[in-house]
């Protein structure tokens, strides 16, 4: 589904991704871990099409198609979704109107009619219930004044609404309280199927107890330096990153 080969990306001539290789197949869950500043959010931004970063080398393909030249919205229309580590506050745009616009723009891109209003309302109701989101939130300005945890829950609500093929969750667990972590993870698991895939970026093993990965990758200094099964996450939790850094140095 997603295939990344030798990806290099930089910002202001500073190279941040330095040769990433990653393949995600339908039905899989991948976890990416790694120290602060290693390039995890950069990788997810580049996959989502953020033009702030310049791809200097390598290839990204999605569903067998090279997506390097596609705008962020075109990638979204193909089914890529990024849950932001720091969701952006957008004053003046309500959650509901934002969601309506996003869904209808995606439908227009596919040559479909706008979603009928009652269907839209039903979907919004269903998905907000799934994530136990208070209806009051839906009429508030997008992310404005939301608590850290509320923002993250709202990201997964958007994911539930848009039903992507590939969801990249960048530290969705940070900021969530224990109950919220369970609700959000349940939400993600329920949306999971054999046809879609999830990449979770996290610092904590805890999330991976809920959303169980098939693969765990360690990103260090812009490269994936180690990959393994879910037990690798446990090992990292226990030992930290020093041993990997040493392995890499050798």
């Amino acid at each position: 589904m997603l295939k990344i080969e030798n990806l290099h990306a930089s910002i202001d001539d500073k190279e941040i991704l330095r040769g990433i290789n990653l393949e995600v197949k339908p039905g899989e869950v991948h976890a990416i871990m790694g120290p602060n500043g290693s390039g995890k959010s950069t990788l997810s931004s580049v996959i989502a099409g953020n033009e702030d970063f310049e791809v200097t080398d390598g290839k990204i393909s999605f569903l067998e198609e090279d997506i390097a030249e596609l705008a962020p919205e075109e990638r979204a229309h193909k089914g890529i979704f990024l849950s932001f580590q720091y969701p952006v506050e957008i004053p003046g745009v309500s959650v509901t109107n934002f969601m309506k616009t996003a869904i209808n723009e995606s439908r227009r891109a596919q040559g479909l009619e706008d979603m009928p209003a009652n269907e839209m309302l039903k979907k919004i109701r269903e998905k907000s219930e799934l994530l136990e989101i208070d209806r009051k939130f839906l009429s508030r300005s997008l992310n404005q004044g939301f608590s850290g945890g509320e923002k993250k829950r709202n990201e997964i609500f958007q994911m539930a609404m848009l039903e992507p093929k590939l969801a990249i969750l960048d530290e969705t667990d940070s900021g969530l309280d224990i109950d919220a972590l369970r609700i959000v993870s349940d939400g993600v698991n329920r949306l999971k199927s054999k046809d879609n895939a999830v990449v979770v970026i996290t610092h904590y093993q805890r999330l991976l107890e809920y959303i169980v990965p098939d693969y765990v990758h360690v990103l260090l200094n812009g490269r994936i330096v180690k990959s393994g099964g879910k037990e690798l996450a446990l090992e990292l939790e226990e030992k930290g990153y020093d041993w990997i850094k040493q392995e890499v140095a050798v």
């Binding site: 989502a48 702030d52 962020p72 919205e73 969701p87 952006v88 745009v93 934002f98 996003a102 848009l162």
Partner: protein, 427 residues
Amino acid sequence: MAFENRVDVEHPVHDIRTEAIKFFEEKGFPTKKDEAWKYTSLKTLLKNDYSVFPKEESALEFKDVKKYFIHDIDSYKIVFIDGIYSSHLSQTSHEGLDVCLMSSALSKPKYQLIIENYFNKIAKTDDSLTSLNTAFSREGAFINIPKGKVVDKPIQIIHLATGKESSIMLQPRSLVVVGENAHVQIIERHQSLTDNPVLTNAVTEIFTHKRGIVDYYKIQNDNPNASLIDNTYISQQQNSHASVHTFSFGGKITRNNLQFVHKGEHINSTLKGITITEDKQHVDHSTLVHHATPNCESHQDYKGIYSDSSTGVFNGRIIVEKEAQKTNGFQQSNNILIDDKATINAKPQLEIFADDVKCSHGCTIGQLDEEALFYLQSRGIPKKEARALLMYAFANNVLESVKIPEVKTRINKLIAMKLGVKVGFDL
């Protein structure tokens, strides 16, 4: 430019006009040397040889100009074609209120007292363009709402220019008198039907008596060769509310002089605007709220979005006299420059002589938030629509206070058209 001197000697406002002509002849058109016109130049406009009075009357069918009206509501209409009243397109009234013409107010004895009391009473006599209008204006809207009358439907004042003259100068003069406890909503639009140059120098005087309410909406979406100098003077008595919303999307050069004077306590004045410009358009908002009495408030909120090499001016002046204690005067001007070549000159001027007041002003000039754009795009909203959505959101709180839903819908559509997007959102 030559003006034919056609002032009627018998006329009750003869003296006022004579004074005005004298003043204009001395002063002439404002130039960039005048402090108030530092950033707005009329030079390019004055090169045209405007005809001042149309040679022939024109008729238009409603269906051809319908789109310039808010046509999905019932309303009174006062319509002018090349400055001449069109009874065919208008719907005036004398039943329980007067929605009619300045020419009849100036000529009929029954209005003599009103004219004596209100005509040219707050329009600035030391302003050359206002004087020019006072001197030569022949026509305009006359609205007189008696005490206690809540007008059942909005009044639309529409000025159409047919382009039959190669270039035309229009000088509409309107007077609105809102009685005690009376309430009226007015929608005003100047629209040229061709690309021939039009220069409109409009003066409107509005008087709001005790507890009166007036809501005024100015829709400025004219053709690229049409320019407007709009002078609006509002005088308010105690407990009255007056609001003016100015939507400036079109036109070549638009100058809005909007002045409020307070003549009593507990007055509320609202001045709001959304400006969206492109190409070489120029929009200037010069506002003045003169707080002369205690316990009054004023709210100014202007949003501007400037593209290409368009230019904007916001010159917001608040004067608080020594007697005007407990004044609340707020002023906000927020601007987004879309292109490097676009400019805005924003100058708040607070002149406060009272000590117990709450006054604030805020002025911001920025770009669209790139991070927000990426966020919206990553959700499948194309860049153009994402930009439009952010601009809508930016301007939205100005639209919120529009009290006529059909006007709000129309402005939403105009904004969408202006931004070149098909948007299904109402914020």
